[in-house]
Symmetry: C2
């Protein structure tokens, strides 16, 4: 970075690099665009950042990001009465599932996954809170929707054991060939899942 | 976007989309990462945005972005005494040229290019200021480094006419095959420039 740039410009470039996927060149382009043409947008972004950091916390029941003490999904009686609890890793997973319109139950958001090597144990992902929730009346199925990665699978197994010990039905979302995908381009592991998880056609 | 998201989260996603190259998915990923893992970073970015918008203006002499009334390059006597003035479109162009370490003169930053269809005329890109500067003692060469686009070339021609009327030597940076590039992948226009601008080998 040239030493000719003003400190305030340099600091903005550095701060933008904190965003995921933003490197030195992109941060510089963003900085110049904001200062040359989008000063109101820059102020709006600054305000949105401050407001979100100040107001957004975690839902007391499902741990997702929300401005209220309890998120809109947990606060919905129809969803609570469904008796379904879907366990996911992140709030983005909740959004992805909500967009399908297929699921009408509640969520539990781990905000991560078990990763002993990084020192992330059961309590760091709220499994003590989840364990208490398994005593809840009317809960009849836990749907495990953690990612199909090594850590996601290990986390799913851990929670399945927990639920089994309380006698609660537990399921894992299906893995297989993506809709619209071509077999030729699907990886071995996925194709293996597609075969082992095959369904009889009536 | 799901209606389940808190207003503060939605507003942050919208505000991040103002950044160049950031679409809906990326803005959402940035938002969740900031709120889940980088709250200090988010506050630092908010502060950097506010500070930059408040402090950064334009250099009175060359129009580049700076916190001072006159930028460090214009304030440098050695550069002023060089008698060279390089005309570029943006502050990013200044940075790119500075990084070569090859140029020791001053700059004039148009902050755009002539574009009659968009209503951008000579005064919008500071050519009235530039015209006054051509009277400056000791100025002996204008180097035109606007982009090799239709608008950039038109702008270069306009400024060349202005400089010619004042009897000041004017040059255009060389266009040709990029160093390290392969002829086979170079476009026709560039290859045409490379031939018409060929140099005799002594």
């Amino acid at each position: 970075m040239s030493m000719q740039l003003s400190p305030a410009i340099q600091e903005l470039i550095h701060a933008l690099r904190l965003l995921p996927g933003v490197g030195a060149k992109t941060a510089q382009r963003m900085t110049f665009q904001l200062l040359e043409r989008q000063r109101e947008g820059a102020m709006r972004l600054a305000h949105a950042l401050t407001t979100a950091v100040e107001r957004v916390g975690h839902c007391e029941q499902c741990r997702t990001l929300t401005e209220s003490s309890i998120c809109t999904i947990c606060a919905n009686p129809k969803r609570r009465d469904s008796g379904l609890l879907c366990v996911v890793e992140t709030p983005a997973d909740v959004m992805a599932i909500e967009q399908t319109g297929q699921y009408q139950g509640c969520y539990f958001v781990l905000m991560g996954h078990l990763s002993p090597l990084d020192g992330i144990g059961p309590e760091d992902i709220g499994l003590d809170v989840l364990a208490q929730r398994l005593h809840q009346d009317g809960l009849h199925e836990i749907i495990l929707a953690t990612n199909p990665t090594v850590e996601g699978e290990a986390t799913a197994h851990y929670i399945a054991d927990l639920a089994r010990s309380r006698g609660i039905k537990t399921s894992r979302i299906a893995h297989g060939v993506p809709v619209g995908g071509e077999l030729e381009f699907v990886d071995q592991a996925t194709l293996g899942h597609a075969f082992s998880g095959r369904k009889l056609i009536d």
